[in-house]
């Protein structure tokens, strides 16, 4: 049975090699070449990136944007998962349904909604100015981008945590309480440590989704807030500088992989800790 099933992986593997691995290899080659024809090799594009503070500050701002949005998702998503795990099957379905609704609704539509909400005459400012305050600038600011990213990517945080929480043995939290620990102590010393694998999985998904969210970053952030995906797009299409766009893509992908690797390593350790 085992050996006869393995070939079933081959069709998809062939597609991935031909249309995912090969393009990425060509991309790396292009990032190291002098022009779009990949004739001779140079490291100039990487040198240009790391010697130009404008470029590496974009990378830094992008990575930081992900941290902010992920933290917002964690602070609001953990309580949703915690309440959801304690609810009956029906209420649980309703909560999950409402949580996944934004991520399934078209990204452009979602962003459009946020423009109506965050704009100068948007809902938030209508309420705000009704109290006599000056209108807030939310659209085209980083605060706005973080809010929208957190809303859209929330399910990626809630679902992995919910999965871990529903599988957790409720006796452990009960034991903690019987032994005299209060609810908060039980939360921080038992429940959260045991749910760390879910938290880490959620953080990885939310983080990578947020830093690569081209449409949201561009429409809510506007043209002045430049993050890595827009930078790559502008170099590739606007400036038609393919080798530099390729170098930016490679640098961005390596940065994402390093961060995922580190978070994964922390996740592995937390699983060991959870079992002990």
């Amino acid at each position: 049975m085992k050996s006869t099933d393995s070939p079933l992986v081959l069709p998809l593997a062939a597609l991935f090699v031909a249309f995912f691995v090969a393009p990425l290899c060509v991309l790396v080659a292009l990032s190291l070449s002098t022009d779009a024809n990949i004739a001779s090799f140079t490291a100039a594009h990487y040198v240009k990136f790391f010697t130009d503070s404008f470029n590496y500050s974009i990378l830094f701002e992008t990575l930081l944007l992900g941290v902010k949005a992920t933290l917002v998702c964690l602070v609001f998503g953990y309580p949703i998962a915690w309440i959801c795990a304690r609810s009956g099957a029906r209420l649980q379905s309703i909560i999950v349904f409402l949580v996944i609704l934004p991520i399934l609704t078209s990204v452009v539509v979602r962003t459009f909604a946020w423009i109506v909400i965050l704009g100068r005459q948007g809902i938030i400012n209508q309420v705000w100015t009704a109290f006599g305050f000056e209108p807030l600038r939310l659209l085209y600011t980083e605060v706005g981008v973080v809010m929208v990213l957190a809303q859209v990517q929330m399910p990626l945080m809630v679902l992995p945590i919910l999965t871990v929480l529903t599988k957790m043995d409720p006796n452990l939290a009960d034991a903690s309480r019987v032994l005299g620990a209060g609810e908060w102590r039980t939360l921080f010393r038992v429940t959260i440590p045991l749910s760390l694998p879910g938290v880490i999985a959620g953080c990885i998904l939310v983080y990578t989704a947020c830093i690569t969210a081209f449409v949201t970053q561009t429409l809510i952030g506007g043209a002045r807030l430049i993050y890595m995906p827009l930078n790559i797009y502008q170099q590739a299409i606007g400036a038609n500088n393919w080798p530099f766009a390729a170098a930016l893509s490679v640098i961005f992908m390596v940065a994402v992989l390093v961060i995922v690797g580190v978070l994964n390593a922390i996740g592995k350790r937390s699983e060991v800790y959870g079992r002990a």
């Binding site: 998809l12 996944i100 399934l104 609704t105 909400i117 797009y233 393919w242 994402v256």
Partner: protein
């Protein structure tokens, strides 16, 4: 004995209040934009102010004449359809191997198949464009669909593998010891049992493809404009009120499809395990 007991209950109460408030705020933020889109799409006026001054179907009727939007919607539906078909066929086959095999090659393939979820889709879209122009092809519907399959197939794999790992292997042994061939066991035993997982994955892949911008931006040819990109340009330039009606329509269709997926395949249960 009464005093400490009361103290513990106070603490339990404070935790419930704090978590309840955080979750309530989050839920308002999660659902609010959807409601805003729905209400705005029924506006009778020329502007996109919220709340709308009344309710009318004016802009929905205006969609009947919106040729460009309709063409874009068709193009997106066709690409999403083929992407889903290919993702389900290749993804289900690969899931069978991944769920049952422990060979390190199959493990590596699993990691490879999941990586488009983590890597920037825009960088992949660009890489694919570079690749096909190196091969002296130009962007076409075929390449667009293949590019979408790469970024959408992880959804099918995730839900299908999850259903397969919960499948009782004794059922497969029983089927085979009763003389059923491998293919018959798959059709009569495995497939009906994993169908909800496959269907949920297919639904997610369809929505992800219909919604995709970063890959379409590089791989669609000049003649075919995809709906999300068309809408994006509308929002970025003139904020046509018809955009609100299309958005409202997309929200309504998404809700209907989600309810169908929930009834037929238990979508929320598939995702929460």
């Amino acid at each position: 004995m009464d005093a400490p007991r009361a103290a513990v209950d106070m603490e339990a109460l404070s935790l419930r209040i704090v978590f309840g408030m955080l979750a309530a705020i989050a839920m308002v933020f999660l659902i609010g934009p959807t409601i805003v889109v729905l209400l705005t799409s029924f506006t009778p006026s020329e502007s996109l102010r919220f709340p709308p001054s009344g309710l009318s179907l004016r802009w929905y009727w205006a969609l009947i004449d919106a040729d460009q939007m309709q063409r874009a919607a068709w193009a997106s539906l066709i690409v999403a359809f083929w992407t889903t078909v290919i993702s389900v066929v290749l993804g289900t086959a690969a899931s069978l191997a991944i769920a049952r095999s422990s060979s390190k090659w199959v493990r590596a393939a699993d990691v490879l198949f999941m990586s488009p979820l983590l890597l920037p889709a825009l960088a992949f879209g660009f890489a694919a464009l570079v690749f096909i122009s190196r091969m002296h092809f130009s962007p076409s519907l075929t390449f667009l669909v293949l590019g979408h399959v790469i970024v959408c197939v992880p959804f099918v794999l995730r839900t299908t593998i999850a259903s397969l790992t919960q499948l009782d292997p004794a059922l497969l042994d029983a089927s085979q010891s009763l003389g059923a061939s491998g293919l018959m066991t798959f059709r009569r035993v495995t497939l009906p049992l994993i169908a909800p997982g496959v269907a949920s994955g297919a639904f997610l892949a369809f929505m992800a493809s219909f919604d995709n911008v970063p890959v379409s931006l590089f791989l669609s040819d000049e003649r075919t404009e995809m709906l999300p990109i068309h809408l994006w340009q509308q929002i970025d330039t003139n904020l046509d009120v018809r955009t609100a009606a299309v958005s409202g329509l997309i929200v309504i269709l998404t809700l209907v499809l989600m309810l169908i997926a929930e009834r037929m395949a238990g979508l929320t249960r598939q995702l929460a395990r």
